[in-house]
């Protein structure tokens, strides 16, 4: 390192990379993330990309971003406002500048700030000259030009060289935040092993960016973020979709049931199908169906046949699967429906996050059709909830609707990898005994037996028509129907005795309780801990079980004078809790396709408690 450059210690940093959707920003962000994970920081990420694969170059609607928050201590969110933005073109600047901290640094690819690109971005005047960036620390880097210069002898075309500029930016950021470049060098070698020219060029661009940081007069300071003190163990960085997928592979191994996934590609759930398609050597069968309905009904067929059967989708897909979920309720088969929620209604905001499918999950079927509804609360938690979904579905012979969302599905965080042997087994027994068998007989959990085809002597018929308890024969008897409706509801309700109680954290005896469910856990936790650091007294409880609710829910809610329920919808959980427990709930909502900022929730808390005492 050049003598004279100051190294400044920081506790945490939020970085955002932004450029055209073809600029490789997701890749750049992912590489920075993986390297940061290896350094040992705690981290949380927020990819944000448009639904269009390659929107017209230079326009604001084609801007793709990747945000990463990393820290020397435990963190919960990808950060409210970036400390530094890398803007590859004027459109990227325009879209992102409003999110930055007041004194944030903006690294700009000055070569892209020409009249044409400014016009495409909708700038009437050049923001670098009109004073609109006052208060920011703007660093103008000739990023394209430097990349071209570094690669002039690479043998690549001008277009190919231009594509390498994200590696230049990455190298520069590695230098600026004192990250090692070796992990990315290794990755380039693997990734481009069949195209040595590109491998060499990307490597050169990365190194050029790194040395540029070291040698340029533009940067006078370099930053350092010490490793976080995480619990002992072996870690990897993991996204929610990855964690969910390998969670089900693990559930398959732990239950001894072959995994069957029926799925139709849909954003933001497709990555689960991609991941599970790789694990054929675990006997995983992935069926890319002709539509959402075939995806779930094939899974129902697989469940009938004795597989650990799952179907993955997003809100519009759940809408199409609705009738089939009812069939799984009626036939009492273990089926897991995964809904990676996105902005709705209809096609809505395919790449943006939302929590607006809760009502659909709990009530969205014809007839009285209760299913178990659970939700994961962080990317890594998607692994745990996969195991939990498999346990509940097979133990109670009931469909489980598993809610994730775009935010935790695509976001990532360090995950302390569990030892395979430490993961509890999932006990599953198929019925084989002929004596006394009836398809709708009940065990102590009200579950019916799982008697799969191929078992001699247990041939039986199931279906969507109402049936008599025990015999399973079709029945239109009025009393029987009421009995069966109540029985199916009771079976689900009883599960409250088999799930963890709602845990209250923070100031348990405070007047104010902040609640939420699923993917907002990080933002709420961060907000509550900030409020408490600032002198506020606040308690927090987070729901991962939405149907049935934990047994102590009413007791918890009744303890607090003021309950704030933060949700990314119009107050769906609040409605359920209000009607179920007759408590007053202050619904705090956001419906912008974006996660909560902790500061937004913290401000709400502050307003409710009437300012901090400290």
């Amino acid at each position: 390192m050049k003598v004279g450059k100051e190294v400044l210690e920081l506790s945490d940093v939020t970085v955002r990379f932004a450029g055209d959707s073809g600029d490789g920003m997701q890749l750049t962000g992912t590489q920075f993330t993986n390297t940061t994970a290896l350094v040992g920081n705690d981290l949380s990420t927020l990819p944000d990309y448009p639904a269009e694969i390659r929107a017209p170059v230079g326009t604001t609607y084609g801007v793709s971003g990747f945000q990463l928050h990393f820290s020397s201590s435990d963190i919960q969110t990808p950060g409210d406002s970036p400390d530094i933005l890398v803007a590859m073109n004027p459109a990227a600047l325009k879209v992102n500048v409003k999110d930055l901290k007041h004194n944030a640094a903006i690294i700009i690819n000055i070569n892209s700030f020409d009249a044409r690109n400014l016009k495409l971005a909708g700038y009437d005047t050049n923001p670098l000259e009109d004073g609109s960036l006052e208060g920011y620390n703007v660093v103008q880097v000739p990023l394209s030009q430097q990349t071209s210069k570094a690669l002039e002898d690479s043998g690549l075309s001008a277009k190919e060289i231009s594509r390498c500029k994200n590696f230049f930016a990455l190298g520069m950021m590695y230098w600026l935040y004192s990250r090692p470049i070796e992990p990315t060098l290794k990755w380039i070698k693997d990734k481009f092993k069949d195209t040595p020219l590109l491998a060499a060029a990307n490597e050169k661009a990365l190194l050029a960016g790194y040395y540029f940081g070291e040698n340029t007069e533009l940067f006078t300071t370099r930053y350092q973020v010490e490793p976080a003190k995480l619990p002992k163990g072996i870690y990897r960085n993991i996204s929610g979709n990855e964690a969910l997928a390998i969670g089900f592979v693990t559930a398959s191994v732990k239950s001894g049931l072959p995994l069957f996934l029926g799925s139709y590609p849909i954003t933001p759930a497709s990555d689960i199908l991609h991941e599970l398609s790789k694990h054929k050597n675990f006997g995983v069968r992935t069926f890319q169906a002709e539509d959402e309905i075939a995806a779930i009904t094939s899974a129902i067929g697989a469940a009938f046949s004795g597989a650990l059967a799952i179907t993955t989708t997003s809100g519009p897909g759940v809408a199409l699967k609705t009738e089939a979920i009812g069939l799984a309720v009626m036939t009492e088969l273990p089926l897991i429906i995964i809904d990676v929620q996105r902005g709705g209604p209809s096609t809505g905001l395919p790449t943006k996050t939302e929590q607006s499918d809760l009502q659909q999950a709990i009530n969205g079927r014809n007839g009285e059709a209760p299913v178990v509804v659970i939700a994961a609360c962080t990317p890594a938690d998607c692994f745990n909830m996969a195991l939990e979904a498999a346990r509940l579905a097979t133990k109670y012979m009931v469909p489980v609707l598993y809610l994730s969302d775009g935010y935790i599905a695509n976001g990532s965080e360090p995950w302390k990898i569990p030892e395979p042997d430490s993961i509890p087994g999932i006990e599953v027994k198929f019925r084989t005994e002929k004596e006394g068998f009836a398809p709708y007989m009940r065990d102590e959990n009200l579950a019916r037996p799982w008697a799969i085809p191929g078992t001699a002597g247990l041939e039986h018929r199931i279906g969507g028509l109402e049936k008599s308890n025990v015999s399973g024969n079709v029945s239109y008897d009025p009393e029987n129907h009421e009995f069966m409706v109540r029985l199916r509801a009771q079976k689900v309700k009883n599960i409250e005795n088999d799930i963890p109680e709602l845990e209250v954290t923070g100031d348990i005896d405070a007047d104010v309780l902040v609640i939420g469910w699923g993917g907002t856990y990080g933002s709420i936790t961060e907000a509550v801990s900030r409020a408490r650091r600032n002198g506020g007294r606040v308690a927090q409880a987070h729901f991962k079980y939405l149907n049935p609710f934990p047994k102590n829910t009413g007791e918890v809610l009744n303890k607090y004078k003021h309950i704030i329920c933060a949700e990314l919808n119009m107050g769906q959980l609040a409605k359920f809790l209000k009607s179920e427990y007759l408590v007053d709930i202050d619904s705090f909502t956001k419906i912008q396709g974006l996660p909560f900022k902790s500061s937004e929730i913290e401000k709400k808390i502050e307003t409710v408690i009437g300012g901090y005492s400290k």
Partner: protein
């Protein structure tokens, strides 16, 4: 898993072994009774298939009650989805013999998408279409196989819909076995059921079935003693396509079109008559034959239109699992959990 619980037994079953204790609830005179009887009569002859390994899947409609009356594993599901459910059963348990019972509304209207894709993928399913050209269970609306102009409750001035030709649709969707039979031709129907069972791959069997309430007599011309000989062409592999009581009529090619002609002195020679080749790799002639049903001047063919051998979807899935496993080794959870870049915190 399945291997451990399947017992082997050699007792020869009878039709009765396939009947359940449920009262059959179709209308008197319904063609479904005959189909059920022919299935129960032919199933004891299915070689190498144990009763406990047979699964019947249906959707919604009169014919979809079928699984309740078969003493095998059965699933009466939701409208149109039987082929998709059956696909899930077959893919997860390829050793099972999986059968679909469906009506024309169920399979070709609401379930049309699943049907063509099951054909395309060549999933090893046996699909029996009970084609009565009407909606029975909803009490008499026109179906996707009803003839144009049909007067029903929803078409008091005549239906303006063109119908599907199910056999042609199956051929167009690359089904590897396509056959047709009649509810009242019991011997022929039994033979077709056995042939479908023996086929490895998707076997589609269209059965013209009389609905005695809402479309009575729709197929009389094909089943009535007086008219059937002149109106039914029985397809048999390697045999000339002759019909008529005295087998004095035949099918020849007139350019690219099949044509019904009289055979005999001063008429057409028997050598000119088309000889049926059900193993023809090309589906073209089979498709022309299937479409003869749409032409009132032509007899309606029954029998196997086409039968070709192709790897099955479920077989290929299995094969891929085996080959990937032999290449990568049995799945090791530790490897999957600890994959990628990991780091240790002490």
């Amino acid at each position: 898993m399945a291997d451990q619980i399947i017992e082997t037994k050699e007792i020869k079953l009878t039709a009765k072994d396939f009947a359940t204790d449920q009262d059959v609830r179709w209308c008197p005179g319904c063609g479904d009774y005959s189909i059920l009887a022919q299935v129960q009569r032919s199933f004891p002859d299915l070689v190498g298939i144990k009763k406990e390994n047979i699964v019947w899947i249906s959707g919604i409609g009169c014919s979809s009650r079928f699984p309740y009356y078969m003493n095998t594993y059965g699933f009466h599901s939701i409208h149109g989805r039987a082929p998709a459910i059956a696909t899930g059963v077959k893919v997860s348990r390829p050793e099972l013999s999986v059968w679909v019972a469906a009506g024309d509304g169920d399979l070709l209207s609401i379930g049309g998408n699943h049907f063509i894709h099951a054909c395309r993928k060549n999933v090893d399913l046996k699909v029996l279409l009970f084609n009565n050209r009407i909606y029975g269970l909803t009490k008499g609306q026109y179906s996707p196989t009803s003839e144009k102009g049909k007067i029903t409750k929803t078409s008091p001035y005549g239906s303006v819909d063109y119908p599907f030709n199910p056999a042609a649709l199956a051929l167009g969707s690359n089904a590897t076995f396509v056959a047709r039979s009649l509810d009242r031709d019991t011997k022929h129907l039994q033979e077709m059921i056995r042939r479908a069972a023996a086929h490895k791959g998707l076997a589609f069997l269209e059965i013209f079935q009389n609905c005695s309430i809402f479309n009575d007599g729709a197929f009389d011309i094909l089943t009535d003693k007086k008219t059937k000989d002149d109106n039914v062409l029985v397809l048999e592999h390697g045999k000339p396509m002759l019909f008529g009581a005295n087998k004095d009529k035949g099918i020849i090619m007139d350019g690219a079109k099949p044509k019904a002609v009289e055979i005999g002195e001063g008429k057409h020679r028997i050598e000119d008559v088309l000889v049926h080749d059900e193993f023809d790799e090309s589906p073209l002639l089979a498709t022309l034959l299937a479409h003869m049903t749409d032409d009132p001047s032509m007899p309606t063919p029954i029998g196997v239109f086409r039968q070709v051998t192709k790897s099955t979807y479920d077989g290929d899935v299995e094969e891929q699992i085996t080959s990937v496993t032999s290449k990568k080794g049995e799945g090791d959870l530790e490897k999957v959990l600890f994959t990628g870049s990991t780091w240790e915190v002490n």
